[in-house]
Amino acid sequence: MSDNRRESSFVFTIDGVEVKAFSGQTIMEAADEAGVYIPRLCDHEGLRHQGSCRVCTVKAGGRSVAACTQPASPGQSVDNETASLTKMRRDLVEMLFHEGNHLCPICEASGNCELQAMAYRLDMTEATRFPYLEPCRALDASHPDIALDTNRCISCGRCIRASQDVDGKGVFGYVGRGIHRRVAVNGENLADTDAEAADHAMSSEVCPVGCIIRKRVGFVTPIGEREFDKGLIGHEIEEKRK
């Protein structure tokens, strides 16, 4: 594969920075390798691209596209961190906050939460304009080791793909349509499924928010020493370029 890849490589630009890509690579894959961070929530390393949160929306050739699913093309000029894109991304993140019940001060994921971290990165510092939808979803604490609080779910579907493709299980899936669409489990409740604490789908890196919670390990890392206390979300990718 590597020889083949090298032969079909080309260059395009993101915010004026030259980025090398191979034929078949998405804009985001190429950007990640080149150390250019494009904000994203539903996309996660090692999982199929879904293109549903739309936070990775970029302008490519004048068109708005999802960087996680759009193939890179030679010579293309891509806009990433422009004022208008950042504003639209902030709108999307605000939508996710308002769709669910996200109360950072009482959430175990605070500081490790990608939604919260994305809000900081996108400068979501003013009062929001959207109405709160305040859903009322029951907590599923049936499983001995894992609890699900879907009030905090942002429908990114990372757990669905991790369970299907990495664990080979299918513990999660989407049900419903439109604003009623949500992640549900393959049975009456989580205890009714073959979910295990060791599943990749249950790991803290897969769930970007505080929806999938490991029992008895809450708050082991003190606030101040958590993932995004160390730097803005995306800093590890951006550091590749420095």
């Binding site: 293109g51 549903s52 979803r137 029951a138 599923d140 299918g170 989407y174 049900v175 439109g178 549900a184």
Partner: protein
């Protein structure tokens, strides 16, 4: 709909085992579709018809038979409006809740059903006999209000006819008998016409005038596939479903893909409120449609086709099945079509189950594959990798019909009609406040004024062109032309007179998009709910001048970031009325006096606390004496 959010308590129906008899029936249903997961929609429709709901134990059984997980089955079952996870009545009455129906006394019709059946909309009677529901546009706007009673359709209802229909159903009359005492003796075509009027007001040269049978197919079979594609491309034919992609190019892309199989899919899922042209073609020109699909198959090298019929048009199922069967028996479908050695093509009918989004090309393919109707990531495009990953041509009913006519009469004949860039004729579905609602086949290029004169709608103050995803225009735009480059439309023309409340229409259309968004992407799933809420603020007189900017701003984000055409067009009712009817908005906004949000109502905010405390608030209750 409340605020668009679920309020479930998380408790599901108990997962009891199926009784052996039901287990056998479910197994037989799955077997009928080869236990094929790609036929999930057919399986679930059959189970719904048989049991009036999809029970949890049933989903387990279906999952087992089709080698899926239960959550995958539930994902599909919970997506489509016509499938239900709770028990429905033996007779389900679905009242068409389109804005045109609302303006044709839907309220009176609803009241009649509710009174006779003793249930409200959204309820099922205690004896399990009836469910009463509302559903978005069922394609009968020219004869509103309309309703589906199980698989049959009643149109032109009045409170009186609704009452007598409900009473007949209540006394045990079968839905079919409401159509005719001799229903079983009628041909499928007669049955369709007894239920629904065609209302063909103007027949044009291409589709609704005289059409010789299979003349286009005969000529196509004497040509090479490349010649067929060239001819369709030279005609200038563009997709008639709304998007207007050049048909010849679509066929050429699919034909040039090397693959084991190619597919032809007909999109008969016209769900855009106010559109009903395909209903008339399916009723009166089904052979022309299948002829067009067969020609497309010849052009791109497809052996299999699918006709995706919207669930609302289930009353046309047997008519289409009969046409397919007839063509098979006459050698017009199947192997060696018209004696042409090696030319094999057949079509299966796929019924939808109540989901507007399935009119979107990728969502339609997902639905044909037995999945939820979610659009697919593009690229790859369907012409490259579509149904089950094979190159697929998806065209609208009208497009295939035109293609068949072009093959018969030649590209130049078609190209000469209409205007530059918009060739041939177009079917317009006209409804609302006009004298003669119905179908008009006219060449492209008429102005809106001309069309309104023809249909008897000169009093219009507003016209919705292309349905809610199109644009609402005012009288100062009626000089504009009905072409792809000016007033583009998939066919829907909804006329509104000066009595109609624009904000009410806009709010209705936003509720439609909230109901029909698939929910896959954030902006469309969530943003449309916010837009609808914002319009409600204007309706209640609680909006500030800044809320006009908020509408534009939020609309911009939804349009830019949505994944498919639904979200890219759903803010159009708001944006086009802001542009063309600005006074409607500016007249109702009030600047906030003290910066307090006018939508905040302290009384409703403390209501639940008041109930829990079982006493009044000392501070906020107006009457301090009690």
């Amino acid at each position: 709909m409340d605020n668009g959010q679920e309020h479930t308590n998380g408790i599901k129906a108990p997962s009891c085992d199926l009784d052996p008899a039901s287990a056998t029936v479910i197994a037989e249903i799955c077997q009928r579709f080869d236990n094929d997961k790609h036929r999930m929609l057919d399986i679930l429709r059959a189970v719904q018809d048989r049991y009036r709901w999809i029970a949890p134990a049933t989903m387990n059984k279906i999952a087992e038979a089709t080698d899926l997980t239960r959550i995958e089955v539930e994902g599909v079952a919970s997506f489509y409006s016509f499938l239900s996870l709770t028990p429905k009545g033996r007779v389900t009455i679905r009242l068409c809740d389109d804005i045109v129906d609302r303006y044709s006394d839907l309220k009176g019709v609803t009241a009649a059903f509710e009174e006779v059946l003793g249930i409200k909309v959204g309820e099922t009677s205690a004896d399990g006999a009836f469910s009463l529901e509302v559903t978005p546009c069922i394609g009968m706007c020219d004869q509103a209000p309309a309703a589906m009673i199980n698989d049959i359709v009643l149109t032109g209802l009045t409170p009186e006819t609704a009452r007598s229909a409900a009473e007949a159903l209540q006394s045990g009359t079968a839905p079919e008998t409401l159509v005719s005492d001799r229903f079983n003796h009628l041909s499928p075509h007669e049955r369709a016409l007894r239920q629904v009027d065609n209302n063909i007001r103007h027949a044009g040269e291409c589709l609704l005038g005289p059409v010789p049978e299979d003349a286009g197919l005969v000529k196509a079979l004497s040509m090479t596939p490349v010649q067929i594609v060239n001819q369709v491309e030279a005609s200038g034919l563009r997709g008639c479903g709304g998007a207007g992609f050049t048909t010849g190019r679509k066929w050429r892309f699919a034909a040039s893909e090397t693959a084991e199989k190619h597919f032809i899919i007909c999109n008969a899922d016209e769900g855009e409120p106010g559109t009903f042209k395909d209903r008339v073609l399916l009723t009166e020109r089904p052979h022309l449609l299948i002829e067009g699909m067969t020609i497309a198959a010849r052009a791109v090298g497809a052996k299999e086709g699918i006709l995706y019929l919207r669930g609302e048009y289930v009353y046309l199922r047997e008519l289409i099945e009969q046409v397919l069967e007839d063509r098979r028996s006459r050698g017009l479908l199947g192997s060696d079509i018209m004696g042409k050695k090696g030319f094999t093509f057949d079509i299966r009918l796929q019924l939808g189950a109540g989901a507007y989004i399935c009119g979107e090309e990728g969502a339609l393919i997902s639905s044909c594959e037995g999945l939820s109707g979610e659009p697919k990531t593009r690229p790859p495009f369907p012409v490259n990798r579509g149904y089950l990953g094979y190159p697929t041509v998806v065209n609208n009913v009208e497009t295939f019909c035109h293609a068949a006519r072009i093959l018969d009469k030649g590209a130049a004949w078609f190209h000469d009609m209409g205007t530059d860039g918009s060739h041939g004729t177009k079917l317009f579905s006209v409804s609302g406040d006009c004298l003669n609602p119905g179908i008009y086949e006219l060449p492209y290029g008429h102005t809106m004024w001309e069309l309104l004169e023809i249909v008897g709608g000169e009093d219009a103050t507003a016209v919705q062109v292309g349905g809610p995803s199109g644009a609402m225009i005012a009288r100062d735009s009626f000089h504009r032309k009905l072409t792809f480059d000016d007033l583009a439309t998939g066919g829907a023309i909804i006329v509104f007179n000066g009595e109609r409340n624009i904000l009410e229409i806009v709010e209705y259309y936003m509720s439609f998009f909230v109901h029909e968004s698939c929910g896959y992407c954030t902006p469309c799933r969530v943003g449309n709910v916010f837009l609808q809420k914002a319009i409600q603020k204007f309706q209640k007189g609680l909006a500030n001048p800044e809320d006009i900017d908020y509408l534009k701003d939020l609309s911009g984000t939804i349009i830019e970031t949505s994944r498919c055409g639904l979200g890219m067009t759903s803010p159009n009712p708001i944006l086009s009325t802001l542009q063309n009817f600005p006074l409607v908005y500016s007249a109702v906004v009030k600047p906030s006096q003290d910066g307090i949000r006018a939508t905040f109502d302290i009384q409703s905010a403390i209501e639940s606390a008041r109930k829990i405390a079982k006493r009044r608030s000392y501070i906020f209750d107006r009457d301090f004496s009690q």
